[in-house]
Amino acid sequence: MDKRVSDFLPARRDLLKLGGHGLLGAFASQALLPIQVRAAGRANPRGTARYCIVLELAGALSHIDSFDFKEDAGTQKDFDVRKIKDDLYLPYRLFPELSKEMDKVTIVRSMKSHEVVHFRGQYYTQAGRPLNPAQAPEIPSVGSVVSYEFEKLRREKDTFPTYIGCNLDTSGCGALSTGFLPPRFSVLDVNLKEGSASAPGDAEAMAVLEERYRILNKLDDAMAGSRAGRDRQFGAFRDFQHSAFQLLGDSRWPQAFKMSKEEIARYGDNSVGLGCLFARNAVQSDAGTRYIHITHPDWDHHRNIYNHAVKSNHYIRCNEFDRAMAALLRDLAAAPSPRLAGKALLDETMVVMVTEFGRVPGALNGIAGRHHYNLAYVSLFAGGGVKGGRIIGKTDAKGENVIDSGWKYNKHQIKTENVYASIYSALGIDWTKAITNTPSRRAYRYVDPLGATEMLMDDEIADLFV
């Protein structure tokens, strides 16, 4: 299959090697302009992770009903709360699988957000910085920045995009663009539940596709002949078709979508389950993808949070997430790393759960749910250099206020910016860099210490790693 595809590829392999996938944006390529990158050089990125998978629970996870469990007026009798170890209690009914894997997972309980609104909160978790409408059009998503940073590491045989999203379009803000970065760093968002067209067909479908592509190429050449006397630039448009076709023709791509019944049962036949399964496949195939953002929507339980009779409740969402993340951790832990002797893929893959804020602790509201709560919430980390089994940060008895931030900056709670500083660090990227010649001429700092409402410590969460 790969040999035949190469018949169609133009000589400009170098362009394709760059994993250029953007269709329209190539046209915005101008003569390459110099850029200024200022490295503050204060950081020592650890470089312990080759891959990063971010699981976004969109809608806001209730922290006191999950990884910062508190017994209170809202606690349900069927939670089956169990002690995992010293300070860790989990409702077993909600997290039967993860309860068994907590030795791999470190919990941060001292998160804080300034946001209380979904759209803005989800923007924050995808862009790693607060929404600033003056700058928003030029701000890239974190994944695009990673894609830019890792461009120089792409190999000839890498066909998969560096940055893949799963169901990003179900997030409140959708898939963010590449901002001021060139379009080739954009995310390829696959929607596994809908069976998106990025999923390749079977061998017969591929044969049909090849035959059609052959005709397309012939027609393109025929058109070239009629352009007498005019400078014919090799249409950048066609380059993108070629690279898309190359991807479709790479046998590893359909492999990444192959999911057996057993695997689907283990991960769960839902957006987060299939997303994690795809992420595992992408990591295992090592075909160019290094950063994956999976969105698990529908957590916004303002009403009927524990009502078993409704279509979306805390039980259902927790079970879906629990199964998916546990299966992902287990499979990555069981797969040996092809690069590091005696290590597993999980040792090279940082898995992070983010959510936009928490939910109000204490008694339920007037419609049997919990509203938004930004002063304390949770994040999970595993793999890629993270030392599991710990808890960073502590809230008060009710889960309303953080009484111990758990890291070296006592007076500062942990923010989304710090989560991304940690991810950059694990991936070996100096997060104190800034790119200075942006369109607005404001420096784009990878991690910006100027938070929305207060200064923040633009540092990684070192306690995750040591």
């Binding site: 990158v37 409408p133 059009p137 959708g174 990025s198 059609r212 005709i215 303002h302 509201n365």
Partner: protein
């Protein structure tokens, strides 16, 4: 999931972290290493220019060597400026190029082959004007521009069932060609007991931010206050209706912030923004409750609130300052409502009477039909850089590329009773619109703002869907109210389409109409969808009805089959080498060959672009 509409929180930069000491060599090394990779965003004129230059060689039509005739005042300005500055321009587009372009721009559809053939065969010198008149009088014109205004006014979302009313209201005023100033007056002044019965009330009601889900305190805005909602809406309508971006001054004075951004706004104060917002200060949107449940999308809209309170907390902005209620004053003139005049009526009167309203609208239409605006960005005019007789200090330059043209168009708009259809027709009948996208000789970027060639643009998401549906003779099936419609552009809201179509349209840039339009993240998904999406592959399947099945059964011979496929898909006849490729494809397997040929055409640049 609750949608809260768009709320802004500009980051307030109070202090800069000091830049740490960095060695000279480190900085240079990083710069060198990253030099080839970063490309800052280009202005739209450069993008359009560059896209066209790269796509154009893949497009079929060459220009015709007829002399350019000044057909209306637009041509005097466009060609006058080019001739004064000695800028070369493209020749006129050939009939095929012009026809497809005109069809797409006016009706959002590719040409119907029989009507196209008639046009091409017509020897009359006036046939292009007549085509423009016919197309802009068609039902499809109403479809396309209804969709355009639905995108512009963000129809859907919290309008709920009111969307159907809004949809038909737009269709109605487009059909009647109601004066646009009256339409905007309706939009700004709608009020009534139920948003389900007053279309104008829906524009503001749509921006309502949901309060607590609590029947005891239905008006409680614990997450976003009413003044915050008003602020948001003020920013929105200023962009959409006046082409002004007042987001910045909604949080702080222009001075000390906007010196490098906007010379007009740098002189404005946040108080002036409050005064502008105050026009809607008394307007309430009250959610209706029924039987203990929110009738989630039906609202009462009235003007009974006390006013815009400068002491009201802000959840999402820098805290307001000042005391008491702000009095409404129009930002551009300082004018206040007359004695006894309803505030919103005053706003509509002042706004629609101001030249900036007309300029902004015609600039928008120009951008839509000609590739980019005379002023760019189209929602960010800098009024201190508009007048060439009062130029801004160096290093600033005048913002509009052709202020005389823009003013002439604004004047013409007003003189023709604010007729939207008149503006579209005038632009499309000009020779400037009819230039070819092919440019002989060496194109320079500096030619771009002269409109020295026609710029290509990729088909919009619904256009692309509909073009595929039309080319294959397989319309879709979407709900519009109680009816079923076949074209995506006839849908009141893209969210009513099935998952495949929605995902296809999203990938090709369909906005969700909740947030302001954002940059489409281009991705290989676009190329993949065109290759593999059911939207395409199901339709080229010739066993399920549609064009191919009919052609396969009825074509006299293979040559005619190939020609018909070309005419229906790319609106032209195949060249001899193309014909041969088509015939070869049919030889192997007639049915499969026809499918493959049409697929290839649907994936070629000339199908995807409006040129």
């Amino acid at each position: 999931m609750t949608r809260f509409g768009l709320v802004f929180l500009p980051a307030v930069l109070l202090a800069q972290t000091p830049a740490p000491k960095l060695s000279h060599q480190d900085a240079e090394a990083f710069e060198q290493a990253h030099k080839p990779l970063i490309q800052p965003d280009q202005p739209r004129s450069k993008q359009a220019s560059s896209t066209t230059a790269q796509v154009s060689p893949s497009l079929p039509s060459a220009g015709i060597a007829a002399p350019i005739v000044n057909r209306n005042f637009i041509d005097k300005h466009i060609f006058g400026r080019m001739s004064a500055d000695k800028i070369p321009h493209a020749p006129l587009a050939g009939d095929e190029e012009f026809a497809r372009r005109a069809w797409l721009d006016a009706t959002g559809r590719i040409p119907e082959p029989e009507a196209l053939a008639k046009f091409l065969a017509d020897p009359s010198a006036k046939k292009r004007e007549q085509l423009v008149d016919t197309l802009t009088a068609s039902d499809a014109f109403i479809d396309k521009w209804t969709y355009y205004f639905e995108d512009l006014f963000r129809a859907g979302g919290r309008m709920g069932s009111g969307l159907n009313l809004f949809h038909y209201w737009i269709r109605e005023w487009l059909t009647l060609d109601r004066p646009y100033n009256e339409v905007v007056t309706d939009l700004l002044t709608g009020a009534g007991k139920s948003s389900f019965s007053v279309p104008g009330a829906l524009y503001y009601q749509r921006d309502f931010v949901k309060a607590k889900d609590d029947p005891e305190t239905p008006d409680a805005h614990d997450l976003v206050n009413q003044p915050d909602t008003v602020d948001e809406f003020t920013v929105t309508y200023s962009k959409v209706l006046l082409g002004l971006n007042v987001a910045c001054i909604s949080c702080h004075d222009g001075a000390g912030h906007l010196e490098k951004v906007n010379l007009f706004l740098v002189k404005k104060k946040r108080d002036e923004f409050f005064s502008q917002a105050a026009f809607f200060g008394k307007t309430r949107q009250i959610m209706n409750w029924e039987n203990g449940y929110q009738a989630n999308t039906e609202y009462t809209v009235d003007d009974e609130a006390p006013g815009y309170d400068r002491k009201a907390d802000s959840i999402v902005r820098v805290p307001r300052r000042g005391n008491g209620l702000s009095q409404p004053k129009f930002l551009l003139t300082g004018e206040a409502p007359r004695e006894g005049e309803n505030q919103r009526d005053a706003l509509a009167r002042m706004m629609t009477g101001h030249i900036q309203f007309r300029r902004a609208f015609v600039n928008r239409l120009w951008s839509e039909l000609m590739g980019f605006g005379i002023v760019e960005p189209i929602d960010d005019f800098d009024l201190a850089r508009y007048d060439p007789k009062n130029p801004p200090p160096a290093p600033w330059s005048i913002q509009p590329s052709n202020p005389a043209l823009l003013d002439a168009m604004a004047e013409d708009f007003s003189a023709n009773n604010h007729s939207f259809r008149h503006v579209v027709r005038t632009i499309m009948k000009s020779s400037a619109y009819q230039l070819s996208s092919n440019f002989p000789g060496q194109w320079q970027d500096s030619y771009s703002t002269y409109y020295a060639r026609k710029y290509v643009r990729m088909l919009s998401a619904p256009e692309l869907h509909d073009a595929i549906a039309l080319a294959t003779g397989r319309p879709g099936s979407f709900s519009s109210g109680t009816e079923k419609v076949g074209m995506a552009m006839q849908m009141p809201e893209p969210k009513k389409a099935g998952a495949d179509v929605q995902s296809f349209m999203r990938t090709f840039g369909q906005s969700n109409r909740d947030d302001m339009p954002k940059k489409i993240p281009p991705s290989s998904l676009q190329a993949m969808l065109l290759m593999q999406s059911k939207v395409v592959t199901e339709r080229v399947n010739s066993t399920k009805g549609g064009l191919l099945q009919s052609l396969l059964e009825k074509s006299a011979n293979d040559r005619s089959l190939v020609e018909q496929i070309y005419l229906h898909t790319v609106s032209r006849k195949p060249s001899p080498p193309e014909l041969q490729i088509g015939l070869d494809a049919l030889q192997k397997d007639r049915r499969r060959g026809a499918e493959n040929l049409q697929w290839a055409l649907l994936n070629s640049p000339e199908f995807l672009f409006n040129y």
